[in-house]
C-alpha cells in the first residue's frame, strides 16, 4: 500500500542516486587507502617469498648453478661463474643485500662473500677458479655453502614462511625443524595468543560491570565514568606505558602506599614481569571492551527485565536468562576488538614485561629495523595477519559481521 505513495517514475532515479552517491563520497578514502595502505602492504607482504637479491648481483652464477644436481661440489663452470660475478661487481650495496640473504641460509656467509670479493678484485691470477676460491677460503670446498647459494637463487623461496614455523629446508632438501637453540616463533605465537587471551578476559571481567554501571547511573555520574574510561585514549601509548613504570616500580606510588599502610613489608615486584604486562595492557585496552558493550546495553529496554520479574523470575535468573544474552553481541565485539589489538602489541611488552614476555610483533619490528631481514618480517606479518583474519572470520560467522563492524 505504501508503495503507492511514491510516484512511479521517481523510484528508479532515487535508487540510482543512492548507489552513486556513496561510491563518490567514499572514493577519496578508497583511493587514499589503495595508494597508502593496500599497495604498500601488498609490496611488503611480497617480500615474504621474494628471492631476487642473489640473482640480481650474481647473474652468471644463478644461470650456471641451475644446471647443478646438488650432489657433492658443483662443476668448475659454477666456480668460474661465481668468480666472474664477484670480480666484476661494482655495486657493494647490492652485494650487501645478497650477502645478508645468504647469511640467513648459512651463518657467516656475509663475511665469506665480502672477503672473497675483496680478494678476487685485488689480485688477478690465472689459476683455475676452483683452486682460487678454495685458496681464499676453505669454506668454498664445503658443499653446504653451494647448497645455500642454490636455495637463494630460486625464483621464489619458501624459506621465510618455513622459518616462521621454526622449520627449514636442510641440505638434502627435506623440510625439518630448526636446531633447538634457534626455535623461537612457534612458542612466541602461542605466548602472543595466550597473553592477548588473558588480557581480553581480564578486560571483560572488569569492563562488563563498568559498562553496566554507565548505563544505569544518573546521567552526570555516567558521563564522569565514561570520561575516565576513555581518558587513556587521549594520551600516547608510550607516555602511558612510561607512567606505569613510575607507578609500579619498587619505589613507586603503589609500593610506597602499601608499605606505609603496613600491608606489605617488602616492596612487591609489580613490573618487569607478566603481572606488570597484564596491568598495563588491561588499562590501555579497557575502552575497547567497555564502549561496544555499553552501546549494546544502551539499546536494551528496561522493560525486558521488568517483564521477567513480573513473570516471577529472580533478578539473578532474569540477568542470566534475559539481560546477558541480549548483551552478547557487544561482548563479542568488545572481546574481538580487544583481542585483535592486543595481539599486535610489542612496545609495551618490551618495556614493562619480563625477560621472556616478548610478543610476535616484537620480532616483526626486530627483523625490520635491527637485523634488516624484511623477508622474515613479512612472513611473520602474513602469519599474524592470517591468524587475525581467521579469528575475525570465525567470530563474524558466529555473531554476524554487521554486528561487529557497525556495533548494532
Amino acid at each position: 500500500m505504501n508503495e503507492c505513495l511514491v510516484p512511479e517514475q521517481e523510484r528508479p532515479i532515487r535508487r540510482a542516486k543512492l548507489t552513486t552517491a556513496p561510491i563518490l563520497l567514499s572514493a577519496p578514502l578508497v583511493v587514499f587507502l589503495t595508494v597508502f595502505f593496500f599497495a604498500p602492504l601488498a609490496v611488503m607482504l611480497s617480500y615474504s617469498v621474494r628471492n631476487n637479491e642473489v640473482p640480481s648481483v650474481l647473474p652468471h652464477l644463478s644461470k650456471a648453478i641451475a644446471t647443478w644436481d646438488g650432489r657433492g661440489l658443483p662443476p668448475d663452470s659454477v666456480f668460474s661463474a661465481l668468480a666472474l660475478d664477484l670480480r666484476s661487481n661494482n655495486d657493494s650495496m647490492a652485494l650487501g643485500e645478497a650477502a645478508r640473504r645468504l647469511d640467513f641460509e648459512a651463518p657467516g656467509y656475509r663475511a665469506l662473500l665480502f672477503k672473497t670479493a675483496r680478494r678476487l678484485q685485488a689480485e688477478q691470477t690465472s689459476t683455475a677458479s676452483r683452486d682460487e676460491l678454495t685458496n681464499i677460503d676453505a669454506r668454498w670446498s664445503n658443499p653446504r655453502y653451494w647448497l645455500a647459494l642454490n636455495r637463494a637463487t630460486a625464483r621464489l623461496t619458501p624459506a621465510f614462511f618455513l622459518a616462521a614455523f621454526d622449520l627449514k629446508i636442510d641440505d638434502v632438501g627435506h623440510i625439518v625443524r630448526v636446531e633447538d637453540d634457534r626455535r623461537v616463533y612457534l612458542d612466541t605465537f602461542l605466548r602472543t595468543f595466550q597473553i592477548a587471551g588473558t588480557v581480553t578476559l581480564l578486560c571483560l571481567v572488569l569492563g562488563y560491570p563498568i559498562a553496566f554501571a554507565i548505563t544505569v547511573l544518573p546521567r552526570r555520574l555516567a558521563a564522569a565514568l565514561t570520561f575516565s574510561v576513555i581518558l587513556p585514549f587521549w594520551t600516547s601509548l608510550l607516555v602511558r606505558t612510561s607512567a606505569w613504570i613510575v607507578v609500579l616500580s619498587k619505589d613507586g606510588v603503589v609500593n610506597s602506599f602499601l608499605t606505609r599502610l603496613g600491608v606489605i613489608s617488602e616492596p612487591l615486584q609489580l613490573i618487569f614481569n607478566r603481572t606488570g604486562l597484564y596491568i598495563v595492557m588491561v588499562h590501555i585496552l579497557l575502552p575497547f571492551m567497555v564502549l561496544p558493550i555499553r552501546s549494546v546495553m544502551n539499546g536494551i529496554s528496561p522493560n525486558y527485565m521488568k517483564a521477567s520479574a513480573s513473570l516471577g523470575a529472580h533478578p539473578c535468573l532474569g540477568f542470566f536468562k534475559v539481560y546477558l544474552p541480549l548483551t552478547l553481541p557487544g561482548v563479542g565485539a568488545g572481546c574481538l576488538m580487544t583481542f585483535i589489538i592486543a595481539i599486535g602489541y610489542y612496545i609495551t611488552p618490551a618495556l614493562v614485561g619480563g625477560a621472556g614476555d616478548n610478543m610476535i610483533s616484537f620480532f616483526i619490528a626486530f627483523h625490520t629495523n635491527s637485523v634488516i631481514n624484511w623477508g622474515m618480517a613479512a612472513a611473520l606479518g602474513v602469519v599474524l595477519l592470517s591468524a587475525v583474519l581467521l579469528i575475525f572470520g570465525t567470530f563474524g560467522r558466529l555473531l554476524g559481521f554487521s554486528r561487529i563492524v557497525a556495533l548494532k
Partner: protein, 346 residues
C-alpha cells in the same frame, strides 16, 4: 584587480616552502641521544657550527642500521654524519653504506690511537662496558662478573642489555673463562651454549634495557639491584647526586666512530666536521663532560687529572680489562643475535 584564489594559495605555499628551504640546516649530525649527545653537542656540534659559520640539526638513534640502509638505497639521504658502533661500521663499510674517508682531509693518522683510524670511520670516543650498583642500597656490593651472577649474596633484579654483544662475553667471564680465551671460546658452538647456560642461571631476574638511559633510570628507581651499563652514563649520574659504584674489574672497552653516510648531500662539510672533531683541543674537552676516552694521542695529555681518573683508559681502570672484538661480531652477529633472541624469548 581581483586575484585568483588558487594562485594566491599557490604563491603562499611557495613562500612557505622557500622559508622552509632557507631554514633547513647545512648539516645533520646524528648521535646516540641522552647525556652522551648533550656532551657531544657542547663539545663538537655547537663549536663546529660556530667556527664553520653553518647551522646544524640533530637526530638520534639507537644504532639500528635499517634507516641508514633505506636512505642509502633510495638515494634520499638526510643524515650526514652518524655516530657508529665499531661492528656496524665494519659491516656498513663493506656494503657501501658509509663513505670511504680521505684521511688527508681529516688529520695525520699518526696522531691517533691505531684503532681510531679506519677506512670508513674516525674514532669518536672509547667506552667501557661495566656494571654498577647503588651504594645507597647495597653497602658491600659485587666485585666481579661472578659476583654479578651471585643471586644468593646479592638478591634482586639484574639489568642487562638486550643484545648478544657484550652480554654473552659477560656470561663467559662470569663462568670463569680467561680474558685471553674469551673470543676463542665464544667462536665455538660449545662456548655459545656455555654462555646461554650461564645466563639461564639468572634469567628469571633479568630486566632488559635497550637504551643506555634505561639502565640508569632503573638502577636509580631501585627496580634493578645491579645493572650492566656504559661507564659514562654512570659517572654522569653520580655527578648529579647519585652514589653508584662502578665495577671496573673485567670491564670491556671499545670505540664508537664518526662516519659519513654514502650519498650525503653535504659531504665536504661532513669531512670538515670529522676534521674538527679530531683536533686535540676539541677532543680534550669531551672527558670533562662525560667520562669517555678519546682517540687523539695529543688530546689525552690535555685532559685534567680529575677527569682522566674516570676514563676507561685510566691505568687503575685498565687493570683487568678486555678489548671488545668488533671484527668477531661483524662476522658472527647475525648468527649469535638469532640464537640470543631465540633464547631470550624462551
Amino acid at each position: 584587480m581581483r586575484t585568483n584564489p588558487i594562485s594566491t594559495l599557490l604563491s603562499a605555499a611557495a613562500i612557505l616552502l622557500a622559508a622552509q628551504v632557507a631554514h633547513a640546516s647545512d648539516i645533520t649530525l646524528v648521535g646516540a641521544g641522552g647525556v652522551l649527545q648533550d656532551a657531544e653537542r657542547a663539545v663538537f656540534f655547537e663549536p663546529f657550527a660556530k667556527e664553520a659559520g653553518v647551522t646544524f640539526s640533530e637526530d638520534s638513534y639507537a644504532g639500528e642500521q635499517a634507516k641508514i640502509r633505506a636512505m642509502a638505497l633510495s638515494k634520499n639521504v638526510t643524515w650526514d654524519v652518524v655516530q657508529l658502533d665499531h661492528a656496524e661500521m665494519i659491516v656498513g663499510c663493506d656494503e657501501g653504506l658509509y663513505q670511504k674517508l680521505d684521511w688527508s682531509k681529516i688529520g695525520n693518522p699518526e696522531d691517533f690511537l691505531p684503532q681510531a683510524v679506519q677506512p670508513c670511520g674516525v674514532g669518536a670516543f672509547a667506552w667501557s662496558f661495566i656494571f654498577a650498583y647503588d651504594q645507597d642500597r647495597i653497602a658491600d656490593g659485587p666485585k666481579n662478573w661472578a659476583d654479578f651472577w651471585n643471586l644468593k649474596k646479592w638478591p634482586g633484579k639484574r639489568g642487562m642489555r638486550a643484545s648478544a654483544r657484550l652480554t654473552l662475553e659477560a656470561a663467559l667471564l662470569a663462568d670463569g673463562v680467561k680474558n685471553e680465551d674469551l673470543y676463542k671460546v665464544l667462536a665455538t658452538d660449545d662456548g655459545v651454549a656455555r654462555a646461554f647456560t650461564k645466563l639461564d642461571e639468572i634469567k628469571s631476574q633479568i630486566v632488559w634495557w635497550s637504551t643506555g638511559a634505561e639502565s640508569i633510570e632503573r638502577l636509580a628507581a631501585g627496580d634493578v639491584a645491579v645493572t650492566t651499563a656504559f661507564n659514562g652514563r654512570v659517572t654522569t649520574a653520580n655527578q648529579n647526586g647519585r652514589h653508584f659504584a662502578l665495577v671496573w674489574d673485567g670491564q670491556m672497552y671499545g670505540q664508537d666512530y664518526w662516519g659519513i653516510v654514502s650519498g650525503s648531500p653535504h659531504k665536504d662539510l661532513a669531512e670538515k666536521f670529522l676534521a674538527f672533531a679530531s683536533q686535540p683541543e676539541v677532543q680534550s674537552k669531551l672527558p670533562e663532560r662525560i667520562a669517555y676516552g678519546i682517540m687523539n694521542k695529543k688530546a689525552i695529555a690535555m685532559v685534567s687529572p680529575k677527569a682522566a681518573e674516570a676514563m676507561p683508559t685510566a691505568p687503575q681502570n685498565l687493570k683487568n680489562a678486555i678489548p671488545f672484538d668488533a671484527a668477531f661480531w661483524a662476522e658472527n652477529d647475525a648468527d649469535l643475535t638469532a640464537k640470543f633472541e631465540a633464547w631470550r624469548a624462551r
